[in-house]
Amino acid sequence: MAGNFLDIGVSGLLSTQAAINTVSHNIANANNENYNRQVTQIDTRNPQFTGGNYIGTGSELDAITRIFDASTLRELQSNISIFNQLDVYLDQASRIDNLIADASTGLNGALQNFFSAVQTVANDPSSIAARQVLLSQGELLTSRFQTLTEQLNAQTRAINVGITAAADEITVLGQSIADMNVKIAASTGGGLGSPNDLLDQRDALINDLSKLVNINVIYDSNENANVFIGSGQALVVGATANRLVALPKVDDPKNLDLNLQTGSASIGITSLLNGGKLGGFLSFRNDILENSYNVMGRVALAVSSEINTQNQLGMDFNDQLGGLFFRDVNDPGVMSRRVISSTSNTGNASISLQIDDVNLVNDANYELRFQGGNYILTNNKTNAVVASFPPPGALPATISVASEGFSVVVNSGAALNGDRFSVFPTRDGGAEIKMLLTDPTQIAAAKPVNATSSLNNIGTGSIAEIIVTDTSTPQFTNIPGDIDPPILFEFLSPTTFNVRDANTNAIIVGGVGGFIPGQQNNLLALAGLNYGYDVSVTGQPQTGDTFNVFYNTGGVGDNGNMLLMGELQQQSTLDNGTSNFQQAFGRLVSDVGTRTKEARINLAASETLVAQVRDRRESISGVNLDEEAAKLIKFEQAYQASAQVISVARSLFQTIIDSTR
């Protein structure tokens, strides 16, 4: 009998020891955030049937289990995923947010300074100094566009680095989880206890993975964690892990695509991924970065196109027609850089894009596909097909897409079915804007045409306005620095007139009627002549009155064209006549600001959610040192008691041995 309770005492010692071990393990891991506290379950040993009674035989260690709630962990992972996505998104968005609205880095100041310089030239058109200032402000404006673009480029590069790093890390984590699956499978089943710490480690890896991308984990009957990303693409299945690889997009090498490689097969899953840092980078790229490029590029396009047009309608200080102020928006190089052929194309079509009307151009990107023998152009923002046309016969061919304000130009070659082209009408606008004018005298401040009434006029008719609409007509281009022919209007009656060539006196159009005395009358329009300019006469001319129209030679004091250029600042030249330059850019500021603000609010909410779920997990699985201290005291006392049992057993034995001596 005595041997029996010695044994019971020993069993108590052993099981209490195990319990103290567990408490120590808990204390040691109190600050391990992935640790699930463990508890020792102590059971009674099988009783002995002696003399019709069951006699207890002591305790034994039944199991060491971790206190763990699978649904809380799942919730935590999904919240971590959302939190990290928003965190990255907000971090990236804040950079643009700071950049675009700041007076020293944004566009507004530069635009304002440019137009102030335009007005200064208008105030004093013959001052070379004022003209020089306008050139410098033009340079500053283009360099502001380029600096802003460069900032966006830097962010694109940073995102690419982030995406690559995240993809690599996901691959490594996937491999580690697969390895853990193998270890855990080897340590479970067949009466073995639960490998608590291995399970904790695997959970920690899965938590780390959910920081990078949203995942779905399914546990199978062999305790394997199978991890899926995107819309169910397997990253880890049992002991096998697939690789996530970031590669340049086939139709836009500046940006990266994500591919899941299974053995030798590879599928693109960029559009399917969400959540985590990776999701943050991708959604920032889609929501903000692309749009920022396009909005800014479109303003740059509008500025260069409108200023160029206006300068070309004027006459410079050297009595020549104005030229290009900025690089032509349809410079051949620029046109071809707007379209990128996919590297997987099998045809050899060379495509470029020509801007026709900036007013109609929107800030979407497009995709041009060749399918079923037709080119099909799709707006990526609305997914609407905006044009569809068969391969043109004679090349190069310009196919106008009037609704979008541009034309697709097929330069050479032919596309084959399945070929794709990415079309970026506005994206590179900010990078491509460049000053062409270097000589301040080439700023066209004056209008190229002037008119006078004759001294012999009897009536009160006078020149109201010169309107210049197009200086590429033969009347302007036949003789450089002159109009061909100069015109003489000769009134035959108060309401009719002849249009004469002032050099030869030959009648160009005779007996033009419809002149309304007392109103502004555009004489060339009345005569049905389209010379690229018109002369507006008001008042009441009398029979025999004449008006001379001639090239504005020497008109250095004329600021007519500069005034019109100054008007462009507030003219609604964008968005189908609803926005001016600054408004179009201002929408980017408010759009990015709103998105950043939204991300900030969502991040704060998500942070609270993560904290709550983490608290819940801690509440269930975390170590409370006071609790462990209490357990320690309890087990210490139990251990001492069990030792006392052994001591009693020893003394009882001694008693028996002594009595038989």
Partner: protein, 400 residues
């Protein structure tokens, strides 16, 4: 609820970090004096601020333009003031000339003064601005507008250009008038017809234009005898009417749309002729040159006195037309100055409104920021103190 040790630590710490972050933001706002730091803090206000800043900058530009316009107009006005004064002097001289009481030598003295005025007027018409541009040559600001040709006549070299400046969104004011509009575009005669006596007249007939009248062709009244005359259309070289002459009576011709009437007095003789031409445009300089030529040609005979009188009548009217023209232009200048003053006032009050709105949107409310600062500081201190106290509570402290 069961609380883990890590949880006590992290949740306490989390709140401390949150308070620190809020304090940091507030501190940044206070040191930059801005109510928001990035557009994300207040996207609507940020966009409005951008627009307001643009408008304020534009407004400032417009006020600068208005000052420039005012300078240019003031210069023009002062020149035209001098021109008017010269005109008054001319009117006095012309009145004296019309009296016909001067002998040849007295006329020479007047001629001296007229030449003087002619030179002064040319000088005024060739005024340059501070930056060396001729203010009355239209767009050809580098071309001297009134130059004498080899025969001594002052001709206009400029064009009809008129420069404008924008002084507020939607309002432009002209800041110049061409020499053509001021000095050249003056109707001859009475504004409808120009009358004159032939230099070969030997009678004493004096012609005066009457209103109304409107003609396109040139006409002559040719005396076929001292009491009869023909009206000849010299453009078509046809005699269109004939009549009997009564001294002091009005001779009218009407063949719509052509019609005129003149008053003829004195005693013309056979062969004398008087011209009636449409009122074309003639510069004040040409008019002065004509007066000087009339004085030069003058010899004191009855016939010459009559020719002189006939010719001085339209010249006097031309001077009046010129004076009226200058007055009209000065009135226009006055109204331009009014426009500028008004627009400047509008721009100033607009700027005040814009800047007030901007300040409301952009500038930090210091009182509430300061009270927020003291509140946050108190909360942070409390959080820190309680954190330390709670962290010290542990059974292990008592296990000795």
């Amino acid at each position: 609820m069961r609380v883990s040790s890590t949880q006590m630590n992290t949740s306490g710490l989390r709140e401390i970090i949150n308070r620190q972050s809020e304090l940091n933001t507030l501190q940044l706002k206070m040191s930059t004096q801005r109510s928001f730091l990035t557009p994300a803090d207040d996207p609507v206000a940020a966009t409005t601020v951008l627009n307001l800043e643009t408008e304020i900058a534009l407004n400032t530009q417009y006020m600068r333009n208005a000052d420039l316009a005012e300078n240019a107009i003031t210069l023009e006005e002062s020149v035209l003031g001098s021109v008017t004064n010269l005109g008054f002097r001319l009117q006095q001289i012309f009145v004296s000339l019309g009296n016909g009481v001067y002998a040849e030598n007295e006329l020479d003295a007047l001629k001296e003064e007229l030449s003087q005025i002619y030179q002064e007027m040319t000088g005024l018409a060739n005024t340059r601005s501070a930056n060396g541009e001729y203010i009355f040559s239209g767009f050809l600001t580098r071309v001297k507008p009134f130059e004498q040709d080899p025969s001594g006549n002052v001709l206009y070299q400029g064009d009809h250009g008129q420069r404008s400046l924008k002084i507020s969104s939607g309002v432009s004011v002209p800041i110049s008038d061409s020499g053509f509009d001021i000095f050249v575009n003056i109707p001859q005669g009475n504004g409808s017809i120009l009358t004159g006596a032939s230099t070969t007249n030997t009678g004493t007939g004096i012609v005066k234009p009457q209103v109304p009248g409107a003609i396109v062709d040139d006409y002559q009244i040719v005396f076929t005898s001292p009491t009869t005359y023909d009206i000849v259309n010299t453009t078509t070289a046809t005699t269109v009417a004939a009549g009997a002459y009564t001294p002091g009576a009005t001779i009218s011709y009407s063949a719509p749309p052509e019609n005129f009437s003149v008053n003829l007095e004195g005693a013309p003789v056979t062969g004398d002729s008087f011209s009636i031409t449409p009122s074309r445009k003639q510069s004040i300089f040409t008019t002065l040159e004509q007066v000087l030529a009339e004085i030069d040609n003058f010899t004191d005979t009855p016939a010459n006195r009559a020719i002189f009188s006939s010719n001085m009548i339209p010249i006097d009217r031309q001077l009046n037309s010129f004076m009226t023209n200058v007055d009209i232009i000065r009135a226009k200048i006055g109204s331009r100055l009014n426009t500028i003053t008004e627009e400047k006032q509008t721009n100033i009050s607009l700027k005040v409104t814009q800047e007030t709105t901007l300040s409301k949107l952009k500038d930090l409310d210091f009182v509430s920021a300061a009270s927020e600062l003291s509140r946050l500081t108190t909360v942070l201190e409390a959080a820190q103190a309680s954190f330390v106290r709670v962290q010290n509570l542990n059974i292990f402290n008592y296990l000795r």
